[in-house]
Amino acid sequence: MQSETKAHMEQLTSPAGHPVTVLRFEGDIASTSKDAVLGTYQALPKATVRSVLLDFSKVDYINSSGIALVIQMLIEASNSDQKVYAFGLSPHFTKVFTMVGITKYAGLFATQAEALAAL
């Protein structure tokens, strides 16, 4: 019933010249998304990846189990001295992420261009 979560990784460089690893998600982010969300993140080389940018622009539905997966990713990133940013959340999910306190640990941006410009 839940639409499968798709994830793919892309390497970009910010205008300031910093390498940024973009994880692009598509579909629902829910309890069934563990492999797509955490698995994709955990496959990144921790020694070299410093900035991770999450693209939610093709995600329609995120529930509390999905938010918990994002928080687990933030915990692992924090333990690896990585910075996590996100863009493409709808106004509603931007509000939800802010309400639960995620914005303290992950910068939220409206667009990829705004996110990259800030990195």
């Binding site: 019933m1 839940q2 829910a30 309890s31 069934t32 539905y61 529930n63 509390s64 189990s65 938010i67 918990a68 997966l69 928080i71 687990q72 933030l74 915990i75 924090s78 709808s90 106004p91 509603h92 939800v96 309400m99 639960v100 306190g101 995620i102 303290k104 640990y105």
Partner: protein, 148 residues
């Protein structure tokens, strides 16, 4: 408590994760018919989804032989949603989630559903059913006429 003279819509869901989206869509359709703003419809969708997920997981323990009832009652100035399961109901509300504690491993990353429900609707109450079943959560979201 909000007294509601209402028109009702009922949905019955299997206790299978994912089917909360049927209740979300139904609640959104009713709210739009009532004239709720788009941002309030989104708040309602998330609150209803979380209530249904709690009912499936904790109330019915994902037993697919048990269903979750969703009753939407559209009043003049408010929409009431009851999400009913076959569980015993809550013994108490969990504490508000603390992101700092989660980040430091002192709190489970999960457990935000009830917080989201309470934060996104105007009223939320959890009622334990008599005889240890038919417990429900009752949500109310009001039409904000001043901001319309």
């Amino acid at each position: 408590m909000t007294a509601i003279k209402s028109t009702s819509v009922e949905v019955r869901l299997p206790s299978q994760l994912g089917y909360e989206k049927v209740a979300m869509s139904t609640a959104a359709a009713v709210a739009k018919l009532m004239g709720f703003r788009e941002d309030r419809v989104e708040d309602l969708k998330t609150a209803v989804a979380e209530a249904c997920i709690n009912a499936m997981e904790h109330g019915n323990r994902l037993n697919e032989r048990l269903s979750v009832g969703v009753v939407l009652s559209a009043g003049v100035d408010a929409l009431e949603v009851k999400v009913i399961d076959d569980g015993k109901g809550l013994k108490g509300l969990p504490p508000k989630p603390d992101m700092d504690r989660k980040m430091h491993g002192e709190e489970d990353p999960r457990g935000m559903g009830m917080f989201l429900i309470q934060a996104l609707v105007d009223e939320a109450e959890w009622v334990a059913g008599a005889n240890g079943k038919s417990s429900y959560v009752r949500l109310v979201i009001r039409l904000d006429t001043e901001a319309e």
